[in-house]
């Protein structure tokens, strides 16, 4: 999750910290800088791909460093930040909202680390006013952590605590998105006002919220240890009955063509980054060949394998093979994530960087219907040996707009009713060529009219047909008048017209014609 460090630079932050034993002189600001540096240190080891932005605020806010993975740029910027006047959390959050919406939109979860000095800067009335005007909940899912650089016994903190709690609660109050809610943040109070305990509080924060996620990707007996980035979150949503947490084993169950897969309903996407195998007991599997070294070749071979062992990029990794094959075949892997929970794994590359491709895991909406065109996901399987599968992708759904003849459900708007009647009349004018069409449309019309109890329509249509009959040109084939008269009579006969089981049939034209010719 992209992170915003929201740093208080109000005047009160530059108060010196009185400590008994310290040689160095610290202010609250300098402690904050130390805490941020330790945060960045943690990230550069555990979450190198995280985006971090630095926003400083007092009564105005300033995006000191926009979102970046270059943590050094934040480190160099930190000493240059100028101090401001007073703490205004509400306007700072407003600025943060703007920054996030412009950069990440409303679908990306964000973490905010608010570093302040434990005083809200206002009295009780002012505090209530701030609570009222907090721009929370946000449109994007967000988790706010607060790191107050203050002694836990400071009376200021007692005043500020309700405000902090409110900020944290409100941030996650209604995550309006359908991606589900994310867990809430917390307040990380240092045990005392010193560099070491603030850094300890920051470390606690990091360990709880910036943990890298490891798991193993399994394809039958082939296996690779991978890191997922961003780390997947536990999924819970109002429409779900349970919460879903990703297990540490991802099982490939099979493969589908990319075009069959389409775009399933995903709730999050993660890079799958292969990691060096740590335990060497499985690596023997990849080195069948070197099991039979010869006397003369053994020494040199061992040296090279040891060399290769030290460089993980030269040890064969299943992920790289899988990626290559998925790309070449244009396929995706279907992955079992948990009970009733699936994901897909594809080779993915950004449009702008066509050459740099990677494995991307889409975590699907829990449940069997995350991709209805694949059918229920729990019923995906291999066809019986030797027999062709009975069904193929896509599993088609029929909806009201699917076509193939309207159902009377659409006459609520007059134009639809008119269109259907016009269709009947159009065919009536093109007799005898359109005899079959005329009766087909008439039966359709009848069916809808019967289900809606719309007997008036049938009377009206028979009148209209009568008028068509009278308007027939003199040179029209005699069959036209015959068919029209037949249809009119059928529509007016209550026994046939309103019986849903009855189907209107054209009058047997051939017999009539032959009898007329005599």
């Amino acid at each position: 999750m992209p992170t915003i460090i929201l740093l208080d630079v109000s005047l009160s932050m530059s108060r010196p910290v009185i400590s008994s034993d310290s040689i160095e002189n610290h202010t609250r600001s300098s402690i904050a800088v130390a805490a941020i540096n330790s945060f960045l240190d943690y990230l550069s080891v555990h979450a190198k791909l995280e985006y971090v932005a630095l926003v400083s605020f007092s009564s105005v806010h300033d995006v000191a460093v926009p979102f970046t993975r270059d943590f050094d740029s934040i480190r160099t910027k930190l000493p240059q930040i100028e101090e401001g006047d007073k703490t205004c959390i509400d306007s700072a959050l407003l600025g943060v909202n703007q920054l996030v919406m412009n950069e990440w939109g409303h679908q990306t979860p964000i973490q905010i680390i608010l570093i302040t000095d434990g005083s809200s800067g206002v009295g009780a009335i002012g505090r209530n006013r701030i609570i009222q005007s907090l721009p929370l909940p946000t449109l994007y899912p967000v988790k706010i952590h607060i790191l107050p650089i203050v002694s836990p016994h400071d009376p200021c903190l007692q005043h500020a605590m309700p405000l902090y709690q409110k900020i944290i609660d409100q941030a996650t109050v209604t995550a309006n998105n359908s991606n589900g809610t994310i867990s809430r943040g917390s307040i990380y109070c240092p045990e005392q006002l010193s560099v070491s305990s603030v850094i300890a509080a920051m470390t606690r924060l990091c360990e709880q919220h910036y943990q890298e996620f490891w798991c193993s990707l399994k394809c039958g007996q082939l296996e690779a240890r991978v890191q997922l980035f961003p780390a997947p979150q536990t999924v819970s949503h109002e429409s779900l009955t349970a919460t879903y947490t990703l297990s540490n084993q991802l099982h490939i169950i099979g493969f589908v063509q990319q075009q069959d897969l389409g775009t399933p309903i995903a709730i999050s996407k993660h890079l799958v980054i292969p990691q060096a195998q740590i335990n060497n007991n499985t690596s023997g599997r990849e080195n069948y060949g070197s099991k039979t070294p010869t006397k003369d070749g053994s020494t040199t071979e061992n040296i090279t394998t040891e060399e290769e062992m030290s460089d993980p990029s030269k040890i064969p990794n299943f992920c790289v093979l899988l990626h290559g094959a998925l790309k070449v075949e244009g396929m995706s892997a279907i992955i079992l994530l948990g009970t009733e929970w699936w994901g897909t794994l594809s080779a993915w590359c950004e449009a702008s960087r066509a050459r740099r491709s990677c494995l991307l895991l889409s975590v699907l909406k829990p449940g069997v219907s995350a991709a209805p065109w694949l059918g229920p996901l729990d019923q995906l399987g291999p066809p019986e040996e030797g027999s062709a599968p009975t069904e193929v992708f896509p599993v088609r759904a029929w909806r009201s707009y699917s076509g193939g003849g309207g159902s009377g459900s659409t006459w609520a708007r007059p134009h639809a009713l008119l269109a259907d009647v016009q269709k009947v009349l159009r065919h009536a004018r093109k007799l005898p060529d359109k005899t079959q069409h005329l009766y087909k449309e008439l039966n359709r019309l009848r069916r809808s009219a019967i289900s809606l109890g719309f007997s008036e329509l049938l009377t009206c249509v028979s009148t209209a047909l009568e008028r068509e009959c009278s308007a027939l040109p003199s040179n029209a084939p005699p069959e036209c008048a015959l068919q029209l008269a037949h249809a009119i009579a059928a529509l007016r006969d209550p026994r046939t017209a309103f019986d849903i089981k009855h189907t209107l049939q054209p009058i047997a034209a051939n017999i009539t014609l032959t009898s007329m010719s005599h």
Partner: protein, 638 residues
């Protein structure tokens, strides 16, 4: 658990089928649109729908939207009320579709004379609320504490506010009575036979909407009533007065808050006219979908704008579009608000034919920003929101990560494995598990790189052994095929061929090493392969054949005498001892496969001009024993 079954999980329409509903809506629809067809014609009279027709088509339209967008878990039931309550469908999934309801309506037929009223239907509807839906039945065993809620939409016509009030009170009383019954009956019925009778649940909340329908000009003494709670929050009653002609649009409006839906107007859709195909006019189509699809637009909306249909402009696609693939977030189903209109049909067909449409927020100042994508998948329409960058952009290069610099992965072979492990939509449980066990079997022995294997690089020489061995079981015929592969390898070795000679030229250099060494590797690998698959008896047979072959290979000098005899008859006297292997006793015919001239010269059976003593050949450098078989025969007889 409150959210488990929301109020919109179960909806019941109660349609008044009393004689009053047979009267005309008095809203004439003009039929005579046959313009320019001569003036002499008798004009057709306009027609009016009955109140019944109006209420049926409005209710059906409401259902169309619900079932288009939520094919599962949102249930609608129809109760037609006259002298009795006609229940048109159950909560079962098979009866939750328009065709079923329309068929039921056909059987009910138009309004007839007779007594009856809305009360009987309303009571039946409340009973239906107490019936557990299939989803609720599947839940009750695991946790019985979910809230059973629902909504009743009663389309009727009442004299005045008092009769509406008494109708609501009857409903409330029925509900209270039924809850009493359910709380007593429930433990028994669920214990005895949960499947025999529909399980009765306590209803925790019922949202009752009474729609009072009147013809166009009739006066009514019923007034609108905001949602009011009755029975201590057990029931919420809402009264809406509507003209019959406006009923459809009223329900079309009500469905939005009931299911948290929102509408988008796609504007500026270019369409060719039939009359002048050269130019195209622009049309608008309104679509309905989940309100969540607009989440990203809410920032720039005022409250008033949020209530209206969001207008998004059609972004004429250029070339191949990415479909819904560009969406980073979820997708929602879409249905046109007016399914019968021509522009709707055009847009729907465009999408169903596999194209996708990008939508943009119209901006006055210029500049474009794509906001949504419309696309069809599996015959359904979907909308997804675009926008924002992704957190996983600019990924680290695979080539720099673990295994990134290995260049000889068996990608083509893994592609073949993927093709063999393709998934299909099946019916029945356990499909996933079967797929996994199949993959497990196919990957039992699977070297990742070309350099770590020899046997998989030998191509046609190994066919069909490597292909057949992954099967769950082998037929006798397949075992024979595999055996002949092994035997032909044996004969290759006997002819001093390099196994690497079969490799493509670019690989040949890599597998250096002496010939014996290569053969040892081939046999070693084959043994590992067959041992990995030795789970069926046919596979074990194959493994035994291989072990026999290996035995000759490794200990050719002190092999069985019978094999030696054969070798003695077939090998050239020039060949070094133990190099040629002849063939195993079981399939000696294989040795006579077509050969080149040199092979024929070296390997052809020669007339035994001076046959050497078999015992000496077998003994090698040791002292030959005379008649060893005699000794064996004596032993076996005892």
């Amino acid at each position: 658990m409150n959210s488990l079954f929301p109020v919109n999980h179960k909806t019941i329409f109660v349609l008044d089928h009393t004689p009053y509903f047979g009267i005309s809506s008095e809203y004439p629809i003009d039929f005579d649109v046959s313009k320019g067809r001569g003036t002499g014609q008798v004009p057709l009279p306009p027609i009016c729908k009955s109140l019944w027709t109006c209420s049926v088509e409005a209710a059906v339209e409401y259902c169309r939207i619900v079932w288009d967008l939520f094919p599962e878990s949102k249930l609608v039931k129809f109760v037609v009320s006259d002298s009795v309550a006609h229940i048109l469908n159950t909560w079962a999934a098979l009866q939750q579709n328009l065709t079923h309801v329309l068929n039921g309506l056909c059987l009910v037929g138009p309004v007839r004379r007779g007594a009856g009223g809305d009360v009987v239907g309303l009571c039946a509807a409340i009973e239906a609320l107490g019936e557990a839906s299939p989803e609720q039945i599947s839940r009750t065993s695991t946790d019985r504490h979910f809230q059973n809620r629902g909504r009743i939409i009663c389309i009727t016509s009442a004299r005045d506010d008092d009769s509406i009030r008494s109708l609501a009170e009857i409903a409330l009383n029925t509900l209270i009575q039924q809850n009493k019954k359910a709380s007593i009956v429930q433990p028994n019925s669920s214990r005895d036979s949960p499947n025999a009778t529909p399980q009765l649940l306590v209803t925790h909340y019922c949202h009752l909407i009474i729609i009072n329908v009147t013809p166009e000009k009739a006066e009514t003494r019923v007034n609108n009533q905001q949602l009011t709670e009755m029975g201590g929050g057990l029931m919420g009653v809402e009264v809406i007065v509507s003209r019959a002609s406006a009923l459809a649009s009223l329900l079309g409006r009500l469905v939005l808050p009931h299911y948290k839906l929102s509408t988008t107007t796609v504007t500026g859709i270019p369409m060719k006219e039939e009359q002048n195909a050269s130019s195209s006019a622009n049309y608008d189509v309104e679509i309905v979908h989940s309100i969540d699809a607009h989440a990203g637009l809410r920032a720039s909306q005022t409250a008033a704008e949020a209530a209206e249909s969001v207008v998004l402009r059609w972004w004429t696609p250029r070339g191949a579009e990415g479909g819904a693939g560009g969406c980073t977030g979820p997708l929602w189903r879409v249905t046109p608000a007016d399914v019968a209109s021509r522009p709707s049909a055009c847009l729907v067909n465009f999408l169903l034919n596999g194209r996708s449409v990008t939508l943009e927020v119209p901006r006055k100042g210029g500049g474009r920003s794509a906001s949504h994508v419309l696309a069809a998948q599996g015959g359904e329409l979907w909308i997804g929101a675009l926008g924002g960058r992704t957190t996983y952009d600019d990924p680290p290069a695979l080539s720099e990560g673990a295994g990134g610099r290995v260049t000889d992965y068996r990608i083509k072979e893994f592609g073949a494995l993927m093709q063999q492990n393709k998934l299909h939509p099946l019916r029945g449980a356990g499909s996933n598990a079967r797929a996994r066990s199949r993959l497990q079997r196919h990957t039992t022995y699977w070297p990742l790189t070309i350099s770590s294997t020899l046997i998989f690089n030998l191509g046609s020489v190994m066919e069909p052994l490597t292909r057949l061995v992954v099967q769950e079981s082998l037929t006798d015929e397949e075992v024979d095929q595999c055996r002949s592969v092994l035997l032909s390898l044996l004969s290759m070795e006997s002819r001093h061929e390099f196994p690497a000679a079969q490799l493509p030229s670019n690989l040949r250099g890599k597998s250096s090493g002496r010939r014996e060494e290569q053969w040892r590797q081939v046999w070693g690998e084959l043994e590992a392969l067959l041992r990995a698959y030795s789970n069926s008896s046919a596979h074990r047979t194959l493994l035994r054949v291989l072990l026999e072959c290996r035995a000759h290979n490794n200990h050719g000098a002190d092999g069985e005498s019978r094999a030696t005899v054969i070798r003695a008859t077939t090998d050239s006297p020039l060949s070094p001892v133990g190099a040629g292997n002849g063939s195993a006793s079981s399939a000696s015919g294989d040795v006579w496969a077509p050969r080149n001239v040199l092979d024929a010269l070296l390997g052809a059976p020669r007339p035994a001009r001076r046959l050497d003593f078999a015992g000496r050949m077998a003994a090698g450098n040791r002292v030959a024993i005379l008649y060893p078989q005699l000794q064996q025969d004596v032993e076996t007889q005892h």
